[in-house]
């Protein structure tokens, strides 16, 4: 947790979050993760380690997957950010979410939002990944429950469905 010091002043931060323009008052060096969770109530991003190792705070920023625990708020100024809350439609799951549900890709669920966002990033860059591509692409997201196999399967299934659509 970055501790805002007394001489820091809050400032306006504007960005696009899940397709919506937002402006929030933040400390410049506050973590993007805390801004998402505390200012915007987007609690799907989780803190697992606070040092960019576990990936459970993953978000998409300008199309790249980032550890939101390592991003100072100000760096997100003007950025386009997607969190897990921005993936599903009103009543319908995204193909990746549906595949995670179907294949057993979520167990305790704490890594799941970050894992799905990393998978989304992977499929955006590489629509038909091999198993090795998926394993490599998700290796920045730790999961202690699944041993990853059913996650890999879910991503492969979502990729197959997307290519058929």
């Amino acid at each position: 947790m970055t501790v805002p010091s007394a001489h820091q002043r809050k400032c306006d931060l504007s960005f696009t979050i899940n397709g919506m323009q937002k402006t929030v008052r933040v400390y410049p060096m506050e973590r993007l993760l805390d801004v998402l969770r505390h200012e915007l109530n987007l609690t799907g991003a989780k803190e697992g380690c606070g040092e960019g190792e576990c990936g459970s705070c993953s978000a998409l920023m300008n199309g790249e997957v980032v550890n939101s625990c390592l991003i100072p708020a100000l760096q997100a100024s003007g950025a386009e950010i997607t969190t897990i809350e921005g993936l599903a439609g009103e009543s319908q799951l995204s193909p990746l979410q549906a595949a995670f549900l179907e294949c057993g890709g979520a167990q305790c669920g704490i890594c799941t939002p970050g894992m799905i966002l990393s998978a989304r990033h992977l499929l955006n860059k590489n629509p038909s990944p091999t198993t090795d591509d998926i394993r490599e692409g998700l290796s920045g997201n730790l999961c202690r429950c699944t041993g990853y196999a059913q996650i890999v399967e879910a991503v492969a299934q979502a990729a197959r469905r997307r290519s058929r659509e």
Partner: protein, 755 residues
């Protein structure tokens, strides 16, 4: 027309839900990020709590001072003197203080609590409390503890010891063709759930204390809070939030953090949230017990075990916590799935000045089975048999007795299970091929196996003492709700228990749901541990569900054969008329089951799951990195209730077992973990793991719901020995300690002169 319709409807609902991979009950919330974990919850006026901990392993607290730069009047400060009840964490014994009072016995022991509305300021305040000690000499190894150089617990540093004795061991040594000896050790392992420990406590003088948290066992926390806060049963309420992994790590520790938050809430009269960061969670909370196992076995020239002695010792850390029960399971499993005509097993849990070790998936069995399965390979080498043949000649058969003289009554055929695993893994062909290729290759390959068992449910008379209670209730909308304190933390409790009730009532899966575990709402169905949920609690859920049906039939509102619509209507009617429809089931011990707690003899478990795991490894002699290339996990776990969940349990357990064997090393210095970060305590990533191929045999089980046995812990037991056996096969060098990191392999090979 009406008749045809009825038939069609019935055949639709008579489709079995057991054995089908229905969607996880809370799955949708998990994939959308809507699931609510403890850190996602906030209460009005809430403060944040933090813990000031011991910096030394052992000593007398001389003075606590507060940096005058801070305005301490803004902080809530709690010490041992503020505890309204007994200063202990009530569990099995009550030796562990909630807050150190005058002395500390391990690094990171909680001494003082702080709360403040600003979490940033709170962190600085923790560092602004300084504690002066008179340090006392501390001990950090099992050997130091046994030598009694310092007495740090009781009269002899021993939390618990067990003796299992069968036949006449002393008579076997003279008859033996070979006496095979070995010593095997395993290290501490961090559970490393991705969600750290966390709770929120709120206090109201009328209602008492309420705690919401990430936890496995609501009633353990309930019991601990009653003693600590001196509150009556109905003045303590514990609610489990969605829990982001546990693996045993949230079995006993939540009682401590809940106690801390409760004390701060009682003093401040405000809700208090405590969430550990990763380093605090790793350095201060429990881990798998380090172990040392010594084997001495008498074997005849055919490779048959005549008898033996096993000494199994675990390091419990500074307080007793769960060590006695971890020791019990480890001791009972120490003989593996083999027939021992004569055996003496001594189990001992000793004290050191380390943070207490605790529950972690497998609960002692992965430690003693690592030793047993390494030792079987040692016996094979000594006698000149293959690892396959020596196991085959010693397997337990139906009608024979285990080390506790429990007769195997189920028709398990371990030879057949072994044959199937050998076929699936192509063991024999690979072993031959690797031996040839290894003569010239710089990447050495090997294949190894482990055969093992895991007892389901509480040990011995445990289930009898627990006397679990389960409820099922009809709801006003005609659906059925399950009431249990059994918790979901990824393994699939919600889903499987709903499947069982739906199957019992012949209802669609969506017509059954499960209550959030809340001690104000659900009866005590026991802790969610020991691979007992599907088998023991599942069976009670089935009985409770059937009770609802019987009530409605007795009412005359439901006939024997009914459609879901008819059930819903009858249920609604009953509630409209009587107000509620509740059915309760209590655990009834099966007849003829005998267990002697004194002699440690009898039916240790209602049933066992059985398994054969085969690991293929490659060791690169330029980096000394060992990699698992293929993994076959074949097991008999009774009836598989949900294939995807069951497979997920096995793969996840094997992954943790691979970490236990090859990656996860806790670096200790003066009793404190030095690598309490995910950056330097390494668990497997998706890129590190092989394909883990999972296969089931399904014998069924008369004690479990629809034939289920326990499944959760089994897959933790086999991977480490199978992998290390494979590494020995690859390198021709002995490795008897895990974790086995590249530097350890390098050292052993250098010492052996094998390069």
């Amino acid at each position: 027309m009406a008749v045809r319709f009825r038939v069609a409807k019935q055949s639709m609902t008579e489709e079995h839900i057991i054995g089908k991979s229905v969607p996880r009950k809370e799955g949708r919330d998990k994939v959308t990020g809507a699931a609510r974990y403890i850190d996602d919850m906030t209460l009005p006026g809430m403060l944040y709590g933090a813990t000031v901990r011991s910096q030394i392993p052992r000593g007398i607290i001389k003075k606590i001072s507060f940096d005058p730069q801070f305005d301490w009047s803004e902080f809530v400060i709690v010490t041992a003197k503020d505890i309204p009840g007994k200063n202990c964490i009530a569990l099995i014994g009550d030796d562990q203080p909630c807050l150190a009072d005058g002395k500390v016995n391990h690094p990171e022991e909680p001494i003082l609590l702080l709360a403040h509305a600003d979490p940033h300021l709170l962190r600085k305040a923790v560092d602004a409390v300084s504690i002066e000690y008179d340090a006392l000499p501390a001990i950090f190894t099992m050997e130091e503890s046994e030598q009694l150089s310092q007495i740090i617990w009781g009269s002899d540093n021993t939390f618990k010891s067990f003796l299992i004795s069968k036949g006449d061991v002393d008579s076997v040594w003279s008859k033996a063709d070979y006496i095979v000896e070995g010593e095997y050790t395993t290290g501490a392992q961090e559970q490393l759930y991705i969600e750290n420990n966390g709770v929120i406590a709120a206090f109201d003088p009328e209602q008492g204390i309420t705690v919401w948290g990430s936890l496995q066992c609501p009633y353990y926390v309930h019991k601990a809070l009653m003693a600590l806060c001196a509150l009556k049963e109905d003045k303590v309420r514990v609610v489990q939030m969605e829990t982001g992994g546990a693996f045993g790590g949230k079995e006993d520790y939540p009682s401590i953090i809940a106690g801390h938050a409760a004390l701060l809430a009682m003093k401040s009269r405000l809700p208090v949230k405590i969430i550990y960061d990763r380093t605090e969670d790793m350095t201060a909370t429990t881990k798998r017990h380090p172990s040392r196992t010594r084997h001495r076995t008498a074997v005849n020239k055919d490779g048959k075990i005549l008898g033996g002695e096993i000494d199994f010792t675990i390091d419990g850390g500074a307080y007793a916590t769960l060590s006695s029960v971890v020791l019990s399971r480890g001791t009972i499993h120490a003989g593996g799935p083999y027939y021992w005509p004569n055996i003496r097993i001594r189990g001992k849990a000793v004290a050191t000045n380390m943070p207490p070790h605790g529950a972690f998936r497998g609960f002692g069995a992965p430690q003693s089975l690592f030793a047993m399965e390494r030792h079987m390979d040692r016996i094979a080498q000594t006698v000149g048999l293959s690892p396959i043949e020596v196991r085959r000649r010693n397997f337990l058969h139906p009608g024979q007795t285990t080390t506790t003289e429990q007769t195997i009554r189920e028709e398990i055929d371990l030879g057949k299970l072994l044959d199937r695993a050998l076929g699936l893994s192509d063991y024999c062909a690979k072993k031959k091929r690797f031996a040839q290729e290894n003569q010239t290759a710089s990447i050495k390959k090997g294949i190894g196996l482990a055969t093992f068992l895991h007892g389901a449910g509480f040990t011995g008379s445990g289930e009898r003492y627990l006397a679990s209670v389960v409820g099922a209730e009809g709801c006003a909308d005609g659906t059925v709700r399950i009431l249990v304190s059994s918790t979901e933390f990824g393994q699939g409790t919600n889903t499987v228990l709903c499947q069982i009730a739906a199957e019992a009532l012949n209802l669609p899966y969506d017509d059954v749901h499960i209550a959030q575990p809340d001690t104000n709402q659900v009866p005590n169905s026991g802790p969610t541990v020991a691979s007992r949920t599907a088998m023991v609690v599942g069976n009670l859920v089935r009985s409770a569900a059937l009770g609802i049906k019987q009530t409605l039939i007795a009412d005359g509102t439901l006939s024997d054969k009914y459609s879901p619509e008819e059930f819903r209507a009858a249920c609604k009617n009953h509630i409209a008329k009587h107000g509620k429809l509740l059915s309760i089931a209590r655990y009834d011990p099966p007849p003829g089951v005998f267990w002697d707690d004194e002699k440690y003899r009898g039916e240790a478990y209602a049933t066992f799951a059985w398994a054969v795991y085969v690991a293929e490894v490659a060791v690169d002699l330029s980096t000394y990195i060992a990699t698992v290339k293929d993994f076959v996990a074949l097991q008999e776990v009774g009836r598989v209730l949900h294939p995807i969940l069951a497979k997920g349990q096995i793969i996840g357990g094997v992954a943790q077992g691979i970490g236990f064997a090859l990656y996860e090393k806790v670096v200790w210095q003066n009793g404190r973990m030095q690598n309490g970060q995910m950056t330097n305590y390494i668990m497997p990533t998706s890129a590190d793991l092989p394909e883990i191929r999972v296969f089931f045999e399904e014998l069924g089980n008369v004690h479990g719901a629809y034939g289920a046995k326990g499944i959760g812990e089994l897959p933790m037991d086999g991977p480490a020995p199978a992998i290390v056996n494979a590494i020995e096969d690859a390198l021709g060098a002995r490795f008897d300690s895990i974790p086995l990191l590249p530097e350890d392999i390098f050292e052993t090979l250098s010492a052996d002169g094998v390069r």
